[in-house]
């Protein structure tokens, strides 16, 4: 893919901000926040996934659990995105060609699509099964897929450093 070889990525690395992050205490700070926020994203999402699978918190309606946990995963996700971008710009041309980084982006996109499916397709008749200990097959499948995809995102993310 030509886009991945484009001069744009080295231009990004040459931004004064990229240099500033790369050579200062900012990089370790961003990375530390990234790991903690990522753990929070997964921790909150896993709770909802386990509820979807009927494995935990079955005393609560799915809607309540997801309403109470979603803000935590979204805020934490916003932090991982910002801190992730901050780290990305220091080695942009390297990262776009790093297979682990590419896998991570693909898995993130799939996790997003899975979440959208859950919201728009499965949730339409949610009021009928909101209280069910074990939701319909499609919802359970989405929960299982979410668990696998987010674990994949974490694994690919951790692998980036081992390849660069």
């Amino acid at each position: 893919m030509e886009l991945l070889q484009a001069p744009l990525w080295t231009d990004i690395e040459n931004w004064p901000l990229s240099f500033e992050i790369a050579v200062s205490w900012l990089f370790p700070l961003l990375e530390s926040l990234h790991v903690i926020a990522a753990a929070m994203v997964l921790g909150a999402i896993f709770m909802v996934d386990l509820r979807l699978l009927g494995l935990s918190a079955t005393v609560y309606p799915l809607s309540q659990l997801s309403r109470e946990l979603a803000p935590w995963s979204w805020w934490a996700f916003a932090i991982t995105t910002l801190t992730g971008l901050g780290m990305f710009i220091t080695r942009a041309s390297n990262h776009v060609l790093n297979p682990a980084f590419q896998w991570k982006m693909v898995l993130l996109a799939l996790a997003g699509i899975n979440m959208a499916c859950l919201h728009w397709i499965i949730s339409r008749n949610r009021h009928q099964w909101d209280l069910d200990r074990s939701p319909p097959v499609a919802a359970r499948l989405s929960g299982a897929l979410s668990l696998v995809l987010w674990i994949g995102v974490m694994l690919a993310g951790r692998w980036i450093g081992h390849l660069s």
Binding site: P28, E31, S32, V35, I36, A38, A39, M40, V41, L42, G43, A44, F46, M47, S56, A57, V59, Y60, Q64, E68, L69, W72, I151, M154, L155, R158, W159, G161, H162
Partner: protein
């Protein structure tokens, strides 16, 4: 204190256990990132359980859920995650004991874990003696402290490596 560290380093070095851990890390393809991911997934469970419970005790999260019920449901997952992280972390420590026992941040992290786990045990015990949701100042103080510690611990974990980078003496 340092005598204990040096004794531990000497005891682990050249042991079969160390050889086994080094073998796993050096010869199994992808083992280092995989074991690190297992460790971070354990941290994710800690965030979803004890951190969420402490946020609930402080009235900041999941206010529609009962504290007593959350404690019964979440804490078993938390203790399993702590065990998982002790094991996944031990593989790394046993492989290179000098790297860890000479690193002051690693030692601090272990101390923080002991304090935080004790506080979590206190939260669990208080639950048993108070079946109704308790939101007294004492409970909130313990929850705030426990929350802070469980966030500092992964931070300290990340900084074990940065200390080596900043002060090559520790490498």
């Amino acid at each position: 204190m340092d005598e204990i560290n040096q004794w531990l380093i000497a005891a682990i070095s050249d042991s079969t256990l160390q050889a086994a851990c080094l073998y796993l890390l050096r010869t199994v393809p992808g083992f280092p990132p995989i074991i690190q991911t297992v460790h971070i997934l354990g941290i994710a469970v800690i965030m979803g359980t004890v951190v969420m419970l402490n946020l609930r005790l402080l009235g900041l999260a999941a206010v529609g859920q009962s504290v007593a019920e959350m404690r019964c449901r979440l804490l078993p997952w938390f203790w399993w995650a702590l065990l998982l992280n002790a094991l996944s972390g031990a593989v790394l420590v046993l492989a290179l004991p000098a790297r860890y026992f000479n690193n002051p941040i690693f030692i601090s992290k272990m101390a923080l874990i002991v304090v935080a786990a004790t506080l979590t045990l206190v939260v669990q015990r208080r639950a048993r003696s108070r079946p109704v949701d308790d939101t007294t100042a004492a409970s909130k103080l313990i929850a705030a402290l426990s929350l802070l510690l469980w966030l500092l611990i992964p931070l300290a974990g990340r900084w074990i490596a940065y200390l080596e980078f900043l002060y090559p003496l520790y490498r």
